[in-house]
């Protein structure tokens, strides 16, 4: 019994010390993974994921605190990329966080806008320009479609308009020649 104790104690002492030392020697700081995740997120900054923006969500994913299926603007494609990056299973978009919508931009109704600047403060990407009591305009190419400017507008003059397809942005469709049980 005593030998057994001595032997195992010896082993444990050596290993315990070794581990303690290694855990300090190889301590890691920072997390480059967050950048990689953030690079996948669509940067809409809409907060639908439940975090105050894309990067906080990325940090949460990297820390294992959030699922990968909480970003509706990123859509299935985004989830798939995250699953790939992190080696996790793909799962469909979580319903409580919203649904994937066609890409839209916000448009301010010129006639109604009162120039209150509330939307400017709301817009996370500075896509709205204008000064107080002046008409505000949305730079369509910079609007991410996050809809954050809709709620603050006191006169409800902002609407979301789906981005129209042009010959330049037109995409070839998936060739579906799905052979069903018809034959």
């Amino acid at each position: 019994m005593l030998t057994a104790l001595l032997v195992m104690t010896g082993i444990a002492l050596v290993l315990g010390a070794l581990l303690g030392f290694a855990s300090i020697k190889f301590k890691v700081e920072g997390d480059p993974l967050v950048d990689k995740i953030d690079a996948i997120l669509p940067q809409t900054q809409c907060g639908q994921c439940g975090f105050p923006g894309c990067r906080p969500y990325a940090t949460a994913i990297a820390g294992g605190e959030a699922e990968i299926n909480q970003c509706p603007p990123g859509g299935e494609e985004g989830i798939r990329k995250l699953a790939d990056l992190l080696g996790r299973e793909f799962k469909p978009l979580s319903e409580e966080h919203g649904v994937e919508k066609p890409k839209s931009v916000a448009v301010i109704d010129e006639q109604t806008c009162i120039g209150c600047t509330l939307c400017i403060q709301a817009c996370p990407v500075d896509a709205i320009v204008g000064a107080a009591k002046q008409l505000h305009t949305i730079i369509a190419s910079e609007c991410t479609g996050c809809e954050l400017c809709l709620a603050p507008c006191p006169v409800d003059c902002i609407v979301m308009e789906p981005i129209a397809e042009t010959v330049d942005t037109w995409k070839w469709r998936y060739p579906v020649f799905e052979i069903k049980a018809a034959a």
Binding site: M1, L5, T9, A12, L15, G20, K27
Partner: protein, 221 residues
């Protein structure tokens, strides 16, 4: 992080590790101590049960497990690590030998056997102690696995007269021992090992019984 804190942390984790180790090793050591007698007894029981299957308990009256010679590596018995031969005596006279034997050429490696040989040189019985033959194919050498419970394959070795020993080969090789088609290798390995063991017993019979208890036996001179 300074050297000293690193060291202190190492010391702390080391201490906790040691504490756990001590507690749980103690638990194990205690259990080991508490169960050792029981385990040894159970193992001996098991061994005796096996022995009684190949050598009827009525045919000897000594404490078989305590009466043996030790063998070094003995190629004739397939033993590359050594083993034991137990001696059965009835009223002090030689009644039979129980040989630990290995058939090295089983389909999936070695097959550990015990072979009981009576004083007159006839084989009394054989059991496979451990083997890894293919389940459902080669494992019929083990009576527990043999589908034919009524007359298991291994029972063919019960009572082979000394004179019949040259026929201790599988039929395919021109002998008497039947085998299962498609799994000749297992049968051949066991059969050949039994024949070798019986020959060894016959060749060394007298010297084996003459040897001191527990003596290291040198094999054929």
């Amino acid at each position: 992080m300074s050297e000293t804190t690193a060291l202190r942390l190492s010391a702390r984790t080391g201490t906790i590790m040691v504490a756990f180790t001590v507690v749980f090793t103690a638990l194990m050591a205690f259990t080991y101590g508490a169960t050792k007698v029981q385990i040894d007894a159970a193992a001996a029981d098991e061994k005796m049960k096996l022995i009684s299957e190949v050598l009827p308990a009525s045919s000897f009256d000594n404490v078989l497990l305590d009466d043996f010679v030790a063998l070094g590596p003995t190629p004739a018995l397939g033993l590359d690590e050594g083993g034991r031969i137990y001696r059965a005596r009835k009223a002090g006279a030689p009644a039979g030998l129980l040989l630990e034997t290995v058939a090295p050429d089983g389909y999936s490696g070695r097959i550990d056997l015990i072979v009981a040989v009576r004083a007159d040189g006839s084989v009394s019985g054989v059991r496979a102690v451990t083997h890894r033959e293919t389940p459902g194919l080669g494992d019929y050498i083990d009576p527990k696995k043999d589908k034919n419970k009524a007359s298991p394959w291994i029972a063919q070795f019960a009572d082979i007269k000394a004179a019949d020993l040259p026929g201790c080969k599988v039929k395919k090789d021109g002998g008497q021992i039947a085998y299962h088609t498609g799994a000749t290798i297992s049968a051949r390995a066991v059969t050949n090992a039994v024949a070798r063991a019986a020959r060894f017993a016959a060749d060394n019979h007298d010297r084996l019984f003459a040897a001191q208890n527990g003596e290291k036996f040198a094999g054929n001179p």
